[in-house]
């Protein structure tokens, strides 16, 4: 039996294809970590601010940075490769744009955290803003670090003087990110306005059920009651579907009874 060689393409393209999918997965996880970092940063300075929160922030940030560095290396090598086929180049440019945007977001968040740490220091017991939060960010941090077990996020009691060290670490991280961004810009020239996104625009104000099915991620389960002024949604889609079905069945039944009556009477 002759071996069926399914590999039509070149060895190198296959490997770049594989590295591209790897990079894609890494970018997605970076986006996830950036989102979690943002949530954690929004708790900072509030009444739930604590050393644990700061620690979670630090861990999230470090994870984000490691991800970023590896993505950076991969994508840079991919994009500097002149012999890349057009499709793959487009894909990698798309990834590049996503990557640099998430880096920008992360950079801003880190700067904000740095500034806020100046104003709100845990050790000195400055009055924290009563924001109405009750829980901490432990679950979010767990999600960021992709940890199954929440307990793993627990940190040991940090020694005093940690905040100063934290601050300098943060500063270093920020400057590292600055360098990385500069490097990126100088090594790879991606024309951002030439990049075509693949996703669909969320239909604004339309009731296209198909696209809504695509977009509706993790619907809120209709709770026992909705809050009056909170932004919690009442998912009307399911309810409207049920109503429509009930109406239809009622109409069919009425039609059936009418036809039966007609048959009986005539």
């Amino acid at each position: 039996m002759p071996l069926v060689n399914n590999k039509v393409g070149d060895e190198s393209t296959v490997s770049t294809g594989k590295s591209l999918t790897d990079a894609k997965a890494l970018v997605e996880s970076l986006i996830k970590v950036v989102a979690c970092h943002r949530h954690l940063a929004s708790c900072m300075g509030g009444c739930t601010d604590s050393l644990q929160l700061r620690d979670e922030l630090r861990q999230t940030r470090e994870r984000a940075l490691t991800l970023a560095i590896s993505i950076c290396q991969r994508l840079t090598t991919t994009l500097r490769d002149k012999s890349l086929p057009q499709e793959q180049r487009q894909d990698s440019e798309l990834l590049w744009v996503s990557f640099s945007s998430s880096l920008e977001l992360l950079h801003i968040d880190m700067c904000k955290v740095f500034k806020m740490a100046d104003i709100f220091t845990i050790a000195e017991n400055t009055s924290l803003v009563l924001t109405g939060l009750q829980g901490g960010g432990t679950e979010v941090a767990a999600r960021a670090l992709s940890l199954q077990d929440l307990q793993q996020v627990e940190s040991t009691e940090p020694p005093a003087g940690l905040e100063g060290q934290e601050r300098s670490n943060l500063e270093q991280d920020i400057s590292r990110m600055d360098h990385m961004i500069d490097d990126m810009e100088s090594k790879v020239n991606v024309l951002r306005w030439m990049v075509e996104p693949q996703g669909t625009l969320f239909p604004v104000g339309s009731t296209d059920s198909m696209s809504m099915a695509l977009l509706s991620v993790d619907e809120e389960c209709p709770g026992p009651g909705t809050d009056v002024e909170s932004a919690e949604p009442a998912p009307l889609c399911q309810r409207s579907h049920i109503f429509a079905l009930i109406l239809l069945s009622v109409v069919i039944m009425v039609a059936a009874t009418l036809s039966v009556c007609i048959v009986l009477l005539t």
């Binding site: 997605e28 996830k32 009055s127 960021a144 693949q198 604004v204 009731t207 809050d227």
Partner: protein, 641 residues
């Protein structure tokens, strides 16, 4: 980079009006103190309870105690904190003000505080809208939808990232507990209400232009930095100083004159539109209103600049000048302003137009400026730039101010306007009426429409521009003949130039007849000008430069005329009696001749209060010649002009 004002700058020049943010932050931080801060209570929702809600009355009472102000002031301070985004209301989240009742508010988390270093990014807004789209399945408000579409267009390349980030943020939020999720959504929504306000609301974050550099940032003490400080201080020493008695006197005078006209210090009638949302003040003081208000008319008496800067005042003044037949001054001034402020592309044409209309010899609306200024102006018109007519404009402005303005204030025109001026009644709106007004607010006319109206008006005025009757020359011969202008020091006689007529202004024979009698001559020029006339003519002929030279080159007959004029230069003298006797019949003869020759075109020559005119019989009509501006002369100019 500017020299720093070391005293208490508070970054005002970097982002003016935002120095309050630091102060607001410190107040808000004080409010958080568990012992001496604001009393908080839990907010009960259907299933959850969220702590740290504060009632409006608590906020107001705390502020009035702490800042030692009364309740109204405390309420407005609280509203300012809400408008800046430090406190957000839980009910009616779009109206950022504090009500001193039991309505609930909460403090915004420091991540969402407005601080100078963190610009509000459109990317974040796009992510937020995308998130709301996911949750609420496409239910965004109208302005949000518009913003969304706009952002999608401008950030198209990032859109994958935005969608993915929105989804991830949504999923991360789900990890949190329900009350925290609710709180976070409220916080984010409040943040975007502050920074992307719905249309029609006033945003407190509107701080105007942003400067590139923060003057309060630490500057390295380089030698350059010190040098700039030295230059600055040297210049301050060299500045001219005024005695304080003089300057204070001027200040006091200004304040006392303008106090009743200042909208902050006294009530504008009928009502201040910014307070009562009633635009009748603006409609009553519009540009082309028939009857101005008494206040406005009073303002015109303060100074000439006030009169000119108010368009209605300028119209009134124009009407007065029309009656006095000196409208060309104001017209010249206005066209100079037009030149100064117009676009660079039209400058050359405008300068030409102004020259032809006002400055050239024989121009239809010749203005009376002294010879030196005229010389300078004409010389510099060769290379026209924006401020080329500045000297002439200043001269005319001073002329109008010293002469016409005083007469205007005593004139019947002005007295008539003063009598007709109205004093509007003051509005007294109740609170409900004020609300009604706020609801029925309409935007004003778009500036594009206003500009078009203005252009139309100006075109209409230019089309209907009167030919100033005093400028009609007695002579309407087509031949350039000698005329002397009192403006020139050397009173050079030169052939005046036939000008193509203005569209509306044809000298009627009546006016010519009226001008039959020679105008009362200004004090006759002393003897030297006589010889100077001859000298200058000869000079001009020799050099062949200037407008005269041009015409000489254009028409042989003119040459002839010039030659004869040159020859007769010595004969030029103040009009003697027998000369004058000669003039009228000849004039009429010419007039009829002209009528036959060139009916539709009217030639208008400036009449001079001076005399010294000579007519030359038109040897068959030299034909209409355009006034050619000196910088366009095609013939060689052998000498400097």
């Amino acid at each position: 980079m500017t020299i720093q004002n070391t005293l208490r700058d508070h970054g005002q020049r970097h982002r003016p009006r935002m120095a309050c943010l630091h102060k607001a932050e410190s107040v808000v931080l004080e409010m958080q103190d568990p012992r001496s801060g604001v009393r908080s209570q839990p907010q009960r929702l259907v299933i959850t309870t969220i702590p740290h809600a504060v009632t409006g009355e608590d906020i107001v009472s705390w502020l009035s105690e702490r800042l030692l102000v009364d309740a109204d002031e405390a309420r407005s301070v609280g509203s300012m904190l809400a408008a800046l985004g430090y406190i957000y209301p839980l009910q009616q989240h779009k109206r950022l003000l504090i009500r001193a009742d039991a309505s609930l508010y909460r403090f915004q988390t420091p991540y969402f505080w407005p601080t100078q270093q963190w610009p509000v990014e459109d990317t974040d807004y796009a992510i937020y809208l995308a998130k709301r789209n996911i949750r609420k399945k496409g239910i965004l408000e109208l302005h949000e939808q518009e913003q969304y579409n706009r952002l999608h267009k401008w950030m198209n390349h990032k859109w994958d990232f935005i969608v993915m980030q929105a989804k991830e943020q949504y999923r991360a939020a789900k990890e949190r507990k329900k009350p925290d999720r609710v709180v976070f959504e409220c916080q984010e929504r409040a943040y975007w209400v502050v920074h992307r306000p719905p249309p029609g609301t006033v945003s407190a974050m509107d701080f105007g232009l942003e400067r590139r550099a923060d003057p309060n940032a630490d500057q390295a003490p380089t030698p350059d930095f010190y040098e700039r400080i030295m230059i600055f201080t040297q210049q301050s020493i060299m500045r001219p100083r005024v005695k304080s008695s003089v300057s204070l006197g001027a200040l006091v005078k200004y304040c006392s004159t303008y106090q009743s006209h200042d909208p902050f210090l006294s009530r504008p009638l009928p009502s201040n539109p910014w307070h009562t949302d009633d635009a009748s003040y603006w409609t009553l003081n519009a540009h082309n209103v028939e009857t101005p208000t008494k206040q406005r008319v009073e303002r015109w008496t303060f100074s000439f600049a006030e009169l000119l800067s108010d368009p209605r005042g300028r119209d009134d003044f124009r009407m007065f000048l029309k009656k006095e037949f000196s409208g060309e001054n104001l017209a010249f001034w206005e066209s100079c302003e037009d030149l100064k402020w117009g676009t660079a592309a039209t400058m050359k044409e405008k300068a030409e137009q102004i020259y032809k209309t006002f400055l050239a010899r024989g121009a239809p609306r010749w203005i009376n400026i002294d010879g030196k200024t005229m010389e300078i102006t004409i010389k510099s018109l060769k290379h026209p730039h924006r401020y080329v007519l500045d000297a002439a404009q200043t001269h005319i402005y001073m002329l109008m101010k010293k002469d016409s303005y005083g007469r205007y204030l005593k004139s019947p025109v002005f007295k008539e306007t003063q009598k007709k001026a109205v004093t509007p009644e003051e509005h007294k709106f109740t609170d409900s009426q004020l609300e009604q007004n706020a609801r029925t607010r309409r935007p004003s006319l778009s500036p594009i429409v206003l500009r078009q109206l203005e252009a139309e008006r100006r075109a209409k005025m230019a089309a209907a521009a009167p030919v100033d009757i005093t400028q009609l020359c007695r002579f309407t011969t087509p031949v350039p003949h000698l005329a002397v202008y009192s403006g020139f020091l050397d009173s050079a006689s030169s052939p005046s130039l036939p000008v193509p007529a203005l569209s509306a202004g044809c000298p009627s024979p009546i006016s010519l007849a009226l001008d039959g009698s020679p105008p009362a001559p200004a004090p006759p020029p002393p003897a030297p000008p006589r010889s100077r006339v001859g000298v200058s003519l000869r000079r001009l002929l020799r050099r062949g430069c200037g407008p005269i030279g041009v015409f000489a080159s254009l028409s042989p007959k003119c040459n002839n005329a010039l030659a004869t004029a040159g020859g007769a230069g010595g004969r030029v003298q103040p009009i003697s009696g027998e000369r004058q006797g000669q003039a009228p019949p000849k004039r009429f003869g010419n007039f009829f001749q002209m009528k036959v020759d060139i009916p539709p075109e009217c030639r208008i020559y400036p009449i001079e209060s001076e005399d010294e005119e000579e007519e030359r019989a038109p040897p068959g009509g030299a034909g209409a010649k355009e006034i050619i501006c000196p910088w366009e002369s095609l013939s060689s100019q052998t000498g400097t002009s």
